[in-house]
């Protein structure tokens, strides 16, 4: 497999940049993955891709910040993939449409699970605001019945205020709100790495009252009071949720399938007395605050993954992780790119990441970077 990343820039029209990128190979790519800014010219870029590669499978999602090679951009990134053996190896995409916040029917999820098990890898991209990602992943995990298949992905992101149109996915020129794309790979090995870099920094506490992402009580104390213990500085509460971005909540069990999950604070004192996370927490979860910094995150990212070198890579990094690192986010992406030997890399800063827990269960994460390493096999 060959792959190339196109870093869209404002200098020339997208069409010219795309033609230039594809010209070297001499044929249309087999599939194209794009992470594009949620702007009005999104449809222009999609139209340009249709014009240039009418036969290629083209898909992707909106992202406020994208990754192109070892760099971070806000103008969009397109990654092209050419298979060495397109006769035998292929990709297949399925759109699970939005259902106004309700999870997809269980029968549909079970059908997806069967394809996931049969595939060499599965990439999930979904609306980061309007698709019930956690519920879908929980149903998929149950439908997989303990079978472990490589699944990874991320949630599309949107700029503030996040309540508007959604964070959409697209296939061809169709832009789909509230939807999930399921890309299954055949003949392409997928290796998933979860880049963490956070260390436990507080004692262990227990969530005592929570519903979905809203936590009301920790250790029997109102969740806001619990946060105030740590985030009151000089008698004043630090700016929330920004201050908490560098201190995500780490789940340490006791249920094994929840071991190792990270959660990012989304709203403080909303609803009043509660804190809301980008991901669910359950009563009984053992949690502690995590601690990380630019160096720890970057050094974790710089670790060379085990296994054969990939031919292409995609990264889904948490937008909260980017916020935590601030200007040093680029250093992390550069470290990842370098660790992968400069392989074609694209990605996004997401509203949530999808990857395996240390035990191998499919999980929804915050504050991680999910690294998807691809390599065509048996070509």
């Amino acid at each position: 497999m060959r792959s190339r990343t196109v870093h869209l820039s404002g200098g020339t029209t997208p069409r010219d940049q795309l033609i230039a990128a594809a010209g070297e190979v001499g044929r249309q790519p087999d599939f194209v993955l794009a992470f594009l800014p949620p702007e009005e010219n999104l449809r222009d870029v999609l139209a340009a891709m249709t014009l240039v590669w009418p036969d290629a499978l083209r898909f992707g999602c909106e992202a406020v910040t994208q990754v192109a090679g070892g760099e971070i951009t806000r103008q969009g990134t397109v990654q092209l993939f050419w298979l060495d053996d397109p006769q035998r190896h292929h990709t297949w995409i399925e759109v699970i449409p939005g259902t106004h916040g309700s999870p997809p029917p269980l029968r549909r999820v079970e059908s997806v699970a069967r394809r996931v098990v049969a595939a060499d890898g599965t990439l999930l991209l979904m609306d980061g605001l309007r698709f019930p990602a956690e519920r879908f992943l929980a149903d998929l995990r149950r439908s997989l019945r303990g079978l472990q298949a490589p699944v990874a992905g991320g949630l599309a992101s949107q700029s503030e205020p996040v309540t508007r149109a959604g964070a959409r996915v697209f296939v061809g020129e169709r832009v789909l709100p509230s939807a999930c794309l399921v890309l299954t790979l055949q003949g392409i090995a997928m290796q998933v790495e979860v880049v963490r870099g956070w260390s436990p920094a507080s004692p262990v506490y227990t969530v005592t009252r929570a519903e979905g992402g809203v936590v009301w009580e920790i250790d029997g104390e109102p969740a806001t009071d619990w946060y105030r213990r740590f985030f009151t500085v000089g008698g004043e509460l630090a700016p929330m949720p920004a201050a908490a971005n560098r201190f995500p909540l780490l789940v340490e069990g006791p249920r094994p399938e929840r071991q190792g999950l990270y959660r990012t604070l989304r709203c403080f004192d909303q609803p009043p007395g509660a804190v809301t996370f980008w991901g669910d927490l359950e009563p009984g979860d053992h949690v502690r605050l995590g601690l990380g910094n630019d160096a720890s995150l970057a050094s974790t990212a710089a670790a060379r993954p085990a296994g054969p070198p990939p031919e292409a890579a995609v990264v889904c990094a948490c937008i909260g992780r980017g916020l935590a690192m601030g200007e040093q986010s680029g250093a992390e992406i550069a470290a990842v790119h370098a660790a992968l030997g400069g392989v074609a890399l694209s990605g996004l800063f997401s509203f949530g990441e999808i990857g395996p827990t240390p035990r191998g269960d499919l999980a929804y994460y915050n504050h991680t970077a999910i690294l998807v390493l691809l390599r065509e096999v048996g070509a």
């Binding site: 920094a201 213990r229 985030f231 009151t232 500085v233 509460l237 403080f268």
Partner: protein
């Protein structure tokens, strides 16, 4: 929400980190406090519990022992710490080695129980029966870092178990084997006789004078006699023989590996010893005899019950031949055959009781006096219904029932069934009923609990006591006079009446009539049969009738055979007549009773 404006992000992070550190330190201190308290609690608990606790490290060296462990091992903690476990915890009387148990526990990471019979030898040589479990101790990461041995002193428990086992197999009074344990030995002897052709013999011994001693000197004397006889038996038998107490005054002896000839000699010697023995209790001295049945244990006996039954037969035969002798069992002997027949009856009686196949019949008693109150008068009769429909009279089975102690059950069945039948008849049956006469055996008359039983049945059923009459034979009443008197007076006080049955055949001592609350005399049929033709019989009937009437007792003539007899009895002034000629027995359960309005009856 605005934050502290003077702090840059790095300063803010550092401030939050300080908070985290403070919270962590606080939590750590709290946990340390809790941990210390838990450790203290654990130490106190370990020091307080009644079990010995001994902990080792992964090399099997002692790291801890509690006060109970110190006491049971005889090692003080300061001395024991650091020593290899087997040095301090020494097992005795066990095939297990404690170092093997410990090694397996540490290597396999699972618990082991010490063998059930394990004993701990204390440092000073004293031994304790112990129960113990050896379990691995794991660190948080699962590594095995030592083992803990928990053990209890079960010496008392084992002693008690031994005592209980002894009690379960031995007679409390004599200390001899009991019937159940003896059965086990007999079973083995039978098996040996079958498989190895070993010859054993069984001796069944019944003391002849035990009842006499018991009745005249009391139970204490009886118990003492049994103990003395036990000692005598044990002295007279070989060490290899087994002596057991099988019942009240019945003993069994299993003569192992003993030919019949030798057994006969040995048992004869035993009888001689018994005869020479004199039992003295206070101012009384008794010579002791025994009826002894002897059975060679051969492969022909199928079961222990069969074997014991043969020995019992032989013993009974010895009694019938005049007691105080030895009778060797012979299967074809007439005595044994008859006895065997009785044994069969015993089984049939028991089955009949269990399957509720006894049936009650009634025979009308006809008033002869025109002044008698009108109504129903009858005697209740018992029949045994076989499962094939055959009916047996009491004469077929009463002898066996009396001999094998079944009369008590039969009498109670009759009383209960009769009362229930009476009260379940439709009106105006009870109003018409004048007399329902029930036979009572000698055994029941001496049964101290019968009174309570009859009273309970009367109370529970609501039957009118005045309609009931118990028939007892003259001989029985005189033989058990004190009990008979007590029972009769108590029941008579409630209105129950009594009849002396078969009067004239026994002692016919009128003197007793003054001491017993008798309402009827039943003149035996042998005087009635020829009352018309035989002047002596007529005189006898006349005499009984006169004396009865003088004492206020009414008379019933049994075995009436003709109208001429009825007329003669009427002339003699006899009050009632009964017999098959007047009315044959009919089922009592039938609602239509003889003599009830509309029913035929001879007059």
């Amino acid at each position: 929400m605005s934050g502290p404006p003077e702090l840059d992000p790095l300063g803010l992070d550092n401030a939050i980190l300080r908070n985290l550190l403070a919270q962590t330190t606080r939590a750590y201190e709290r946990q340390m406090t809790e941990l210390y308290a838990e450790k203290e609690l654990a130490q106190v608990t370990l020091a307080s519990i009644g079990d010995g606790v001994l902990a080792t490290d992964a090399e099997g060296r002692i790291k801890y022992l509690n006060p109970v462990a110190e006491k049971l091992t005889g090692w003080e903690r300061a001395e024991a710490l650091g020593r290899p476990l087997p040095e301090v915890f020494q097992l005795s009387e066990s095939e297990q080695r404690i170092d093997d148990v410990l090694s397996r526990c540490l290597e396999e990471g699972r618990s082991f129980r010490l063998a059930e019979r394990a004993s701990l030898e204390r440092r000073d040589g004293r031994r304790y029966g112990i129960e113990s479990t050896c379990s691995p101790i794991r660190a948080l990461d699962g590594r095995i870092i030592g083992a803990v041995l928990v053990f209890q002193d079960v010496s008392d428990k084992r002693l008690m178990a031994l005592q209980l086992a002894h009690q379960a197999t031995h007679d409390e009074l004599t200390g001899l084997l009991n019937r159940q344990a003896f059965d086990g030995h007999l079973q083995r002897a039978l098996e040996e006789a079958r498989s190895l052709s070993n010859t054993h013999a069984l001796c069944y011994l019944d003391l002849d004078q035990f009842k006499l001693v018991n009745d005249t000197c009391g139970h204490l004397a009886g118990d003492e006699l049994l103990c003395r006889v036990t000692a005598l038996l044990q002295d007279s038998m070989r060490d290899t023989d087994l002596v057991a107490r099988l019942g009240g005054d019945e003993f069994g002896v299993l003569l192992t590996r003993c030919s019949l000839d030798r057994a006969e000699r040995q048992v004869a010697e035993l009888l001689r010893a018994l005869n020479q023995f004199r039992f003295t209790w206070r101012d009384k001295t008794f010579a002791i005899g025994a009826s002894i049945g002897l059975v060679p244990i051969t492969r022909e006996f199928r079961t222990v019950a069969h074997l014991l039954s043969a020995a019992d037969h032989a013993c009974y035969a010895a009694k019938e031949k005049g007691r105080n002798r030895v009778q060797v069992y012979q299967e074809d002997d007439d005595t044994f055959v008859r006895r065997h027949g009785e044994m069969n009856w015993v089984v049939r009686i028991q089955q009949t009781l269990e399957q509720d196949r006894f049936r009650l019949f009634s025979q009308q008693i006809q008033p002869l006096s025109p002044h008698a109150a009108p109504g129903l008068y009858f005697e209740v009769l018992l029949r045994m219904l076989e499962d094939d429909g055959r009916v047996h009279l009491p004469s077929d089975f009463i002898r066996a029932a009396e001999r094998y102690g079944l009369m008590r059950s039969i009498d109670r069945w009759v009383i209960r069934s009769c009362i229930q039948t009476l009260v379940s008849q439709p009106p105006p049956f009870l109003e018409l009923l004048q007399l329902c006469s029930i036979n009572l055996s000698a055994v029941s008359l001496g049964d101290d609990e019968l009174l309570g039983f009859v009273e309970e049945e009367l109370d529970a059923s609501g039957a009118p006591p005045a309609k009931l009459c118990f028939e007892i034979t003259e001989t029985t009443a005189i033989e058990s006079l004190p009990q008979a008197q007590r029972l009769m007076e108590r029941l008579a006080a409630r209105g129950v009446r009594f009849a002396l049955d078969d009067f004239g055949t026994g002692m016919s001592s009128y003197g007793y009539l003054k001491d017993l609350p008798v309402s009827f005399l039943k003149i035996d049929g042998k005087f009635i049969k020829d009352v018309v033709t035989d002047p002596l019989d007529r005189a006898m009937v006349e005499s009984i009738n006169q004396v009865g009437h003088v004492m206020g007792v009414r008379t019933i003539a049994e075995g009436v055979t003709s109208s001429a007899v009825v007329e003669r009895l009427r002339l003699l002034g006899v009050d009632f007549a009964q017999g098959n000629w007047i009315s044959p027995p009919r089922p009592l359960a039938s609602a239509a009773m003889p003599g009830m309005p509309g029913m035929p009856g001879r007059r």
